[in-house]
């Protein structure tokens, strides 16, 4: 495979894809997280779950008005896909049957708290299935750009936006860094090849430990 320069979002998606294991049931949020499906390592096949009631999201081959993804966009299905109702969909999500979910974030903090569903007075899209996903999925991976558009940090000591879930995040992946959320707090596990510890430190408000085995990605 020829090496091509990836844009920021693709780089994040590409790194997250390495966290998924063959056979996993995975729920990808709208936006950046959806891209993760494009970067699965060879030999890794995952089944994608959609909140609106199916397992086996696939490429769109023809538009079927009865087949959309959780964003309401035309979707396809893979061979072996299974359909069900919203009730069963959340039995799966809340019951720990989803191995990993990848979601975007407005803010994450060093306690693993996540805020991604509203900005009071400005934007209230609603939580949709996100609050269920973060308490139910075995692994909650946040994929987002490291800082907000105005440069302000998104990885904070404490979220100040309304939470989606409390102590729910397992991993944060940005274009600069990979953090895991542990009992001891955030651990910086990896930094990207074109950054350095100093830059990450400057762009991150949260306290974190630098892993002894810090890697580059």
């Amino acid at each position: 495979m020829a090496t091509v320069a990836l844009n920021t979002k693709d780089r994040i998606a590409n790194r997250i894809a390495k966290e998924l294991k063959d056979g996993d049931l995975v729920n990808l949020g709208i936006g950046l997280p959806t891209k993760v499906g494009n970067f699965l390592p060879e030999g890794v096949e995952v089944m994608l779950q959609s909140e609106n009631g199916y397992i086996g999201i696939g490429p769109v081959t023809e538009v079927d008005p009865d087949l959309v993804n959780a964003g309401g966009q035309p979707a396809g299905m893979v061979t072996g896909a299974a359909m069900f109702d919203s009730f069963m969909s959340f039995n799966l999500i809340r019951g720990g049957h989803v191995d990993a979910t990848v979601l975007g974030a407005l803010q994450v903090d060093q306690n693993g708290n996540l805020a991604n569903w509203m900005v009071p007075g400005k934007m209230v899209p609603g939580m949709g299935g996100a609050m269920d996903l973060v308490v139910g999925a075995k692994k909650v991976i946040i994929g987002m750009e490291h800082a907000a558009k105005d440069g302000s940090p998104k990885i904070l000591k404490q979220c100040n936006l309304p939470l989606t879930g409390k102590q729910v995040v397992d991993m944060i992946v940005t274009e600069l860094a990979v953090f895991t959320c542990t009992d001891k707090g955030l651990v910086l596990e990896e930094i990207s090849e074109d950054t350095d510890l100093q830059t990450v430190r400057e762009k991150t408000e949260a306290d974190y430990i630098v892993s002894k085995n810090l890697k580059k990605f």
Partner: protein, 219 residues
């Protein structure tokens, strides 16, 4: 016990101020034609229970734009800016419910339960004003039942006894809503004779469905 009615007979089941569950997820699996009829008839002060408020020009989204709602109990309003606008202007009372908890509350309402304990929303604004309980060391929120005066479903096929079959992601909230309203009306694409649906293929038993309106595939 004739269940099949025409769109013209439908308005007798509408009343201003009623609560109404509407199946569908972003308009898919939604009884679009019945909703159009409700817009036409200007039924008002509705309490809508639905997954979302769709988009401004589709399904329940048009009820929002047309200011026919008093309250919306939904999990998502982001795709219909009009909902947020009316909410901020305090013209519309919006109760945002996590999608899984919405499904649970509707099912609890339809199944005679007093509620369910869910971990969803613990530590968030969702828990405000709700009973919390600790079961075996884990915190849960008690989510209470939802019912409505009328449920409006969308099915792919119905037989004349009201047995329903949904198609692909058109299923979503429809089967649960069939349990949780005093009057259940289904918009269907295709009507078949009783016996044409396999017993194992039926997704909503006909006893739950009061009325059927045959609308074809819609637009």
């Amino acid at each position: 016990m004739e269940k099949v009615i025409s769109m013209e007979e439908l308005p007798q089941y509408y009343s201003d101020g009623m609560s109404v569950m509407v199946g569908g997820f972003m308009g898919v699996g939604q009884p679009i034609e019945i909703v159009k009829n409700m817009v036409e008839k200007q039924v008002k002060d509705l309490t809508l229970i639905c997954n979302d408020t769709a988009v401004p020009d589709l399904g329940v989204g048009t009820l929002v734009v047309n200011k026919q709602l008093k309250k919306a109990i939904v999990s998502h309003i982001g795709t219909n800016p009009e909902t947020g606008k009316q909410m901020i202007a305090e013209e519309l009372d919006v109760e945002l419910v996590p999608q899984g908890s919405l499904a649970e509350r509707i099912r609890a309402g339809g199944a005679g339960l007093g509620g369910v304990l869910t971990p969803t929303g613990v530590g968030t604004v969702v828990e405000e004003g709700k009973v919390k309980m600790n079961v075996e060391g884990k915190e849960y929120i008690l989510e209470t039942p939802l019912r409505a005066d009328v449920a409006l479903l969308k099915a792919h096929k119905a037989d004349k006894a009201g047995n329903l079959v949904y198609r692909l992601t058109g299923r979503n909230f429809n089967p649960m809503m069939a349990l949780a309203a005093d009057m259940v009306i289904a918009e269907v694409e295709e009507l078949v004779e009783v016996g044409e649906l396999e017993p194992d293929e039926i997704m909503t038993p006909g006893v739950l469905v009061d009325k059927i309106v045959v609308c074809g595939k819609g637009e």
